[in-house]
Symmetry: none
Subunit: 195 residues, 2 copies
DNA sequence: CTCGTTCCTGGCCGAATGGCTAGGCTGGCG
DNA sequence: CGCCAGCCTAGCCATTCGGCCAGGAACGAG
């Protein structure tokens, strides 16, 4: 097992915490993926920095330690085989690393939520009495989600800026929000547009 | 660890295969969940039958062994903390069970696909020369994505509206966009924020 | 010590945004 | 025919947004 972290102290701490674990051998520590081949690790433990993860050239499975959810999804997308919170217990790290070495995928419980097709919050909801958007409004919404200004929308759809504002206002009303940004987020969550 | 399977031979086989694994103790075998309390297991290994899984009354984390994908999703939805294929190696089972006991979620690689947000268009890209955002900027970005106005962000983070505008401008610059809406969409695509 | 970076604050200004009211045009329906 | 829904246009107005310039406090690196 090879440890990556931009922070030397974090590397040392992780190595020390895992040293005692049976069946785990820390073969080295690095600041990043450069030169990993020399260690021929079966698994990589990587404490995520804020920079974008790059696992391209890395062949062994990677367990990413992350601090917040956005990081988690970024690392998953980048191909990490395991994602745990930074404050996980050493025993959890050790167990996760062993599972990784077996080719399995390991996640912190919170991060597995999207997998559960979901009984959907039973009570809450309350929200989408959502009047249906007209075809025209959907067109505008898509441009809205692309980040276009009212003026740009008007040019694209060949009507006046006033009309653009009219449709946008109508969309805001139907979605129950008061800014175009909120509208985009809401629409994305409702599946009305793809981001 | 407690083993469930409708098939007594399968129970025996699993127990035998796992008997050798260090740090795992098979405390019993049952045909189903009835009466599990008597064994006080830390984990349950359950070879899935074709019937609908019911994990309601079951308190320890469950590792389900499934034969096909429909089963896998059914068991995940039912609350299984781990799902592996029936033909997994004993070493993989053992590693998975230990991770389960640590409160982690374990999956066969194929089953984790839905988590990876996108295969990323392989060719295109060209885009993210993306300077990293500072911690403060990420905080602002998250509120931005919630649709808050500069004023609201300033209140929430307890600094002046000017500072909010300053950070927003900095975010726009780093993401290479010119409106907050674009910034949110871009950040979502990059995995910097969850919508 | 100076330098550079990050974070925070301020003022100014033009443009964009969102709420409002008030039209006109079309086509479907009773 | 009148009525209504969806669509487009228009003006007014307060607020917000985004760009620009300038400065201060804190901290680590040189």
């Amino acid at each position: 097992m090879l440890i990556f972290s931009e922070d030397p102290w974090a590397r040392a701490g992780l190595a020390a915490a895992l040293r005692g674990e049976a069946g785990l051998e820390v073969v080295g520590q690095l600041g990043g993926p450069d030169g990993w081949q020399a260690y021929a690790p079966d698994v990589v433990l990587w404490e995520a920095g804020e920079s974008r993860p790059d696992l391209e050239a890395l062949e062994p499975p990677v367990l990413a330690l992350v601090g917040h959810e956005a990081q988690a999804t970024a690392w998953l997308a980048a191909g990490a085989r395991g994602v745990l919170w930074r404050d996980s217990e050493p025993e959890a790290l050790s167990a996760a690393l062993r599972a990784l070495a077996q080719g399995l995928v390991v996640l912190a419980p919170d991060l597995a939520e999207p997998l559960r097709p979901g009984p959907r919050d039973p009570e809450g909801e309350a929200e989408p009495p959502l009047e249906p958007l007209t075809e025209r409004e959907l067109e505008v919404l898509r441009l809205l989600a692309a980040g276009l200004s009212n003026k740009a929308i008007a040019r694209r759809l060949e009507f006046s800026e006033h009309t653009a504002k009219f449709h946008v206002a109508s969309i805001l009303g139907k979605l129950g929000v008061q800014s175009r940004t909120e509208a985009v987020v809401r629409a994305a969550r409702l599946g009305l547009v793809m981001l």
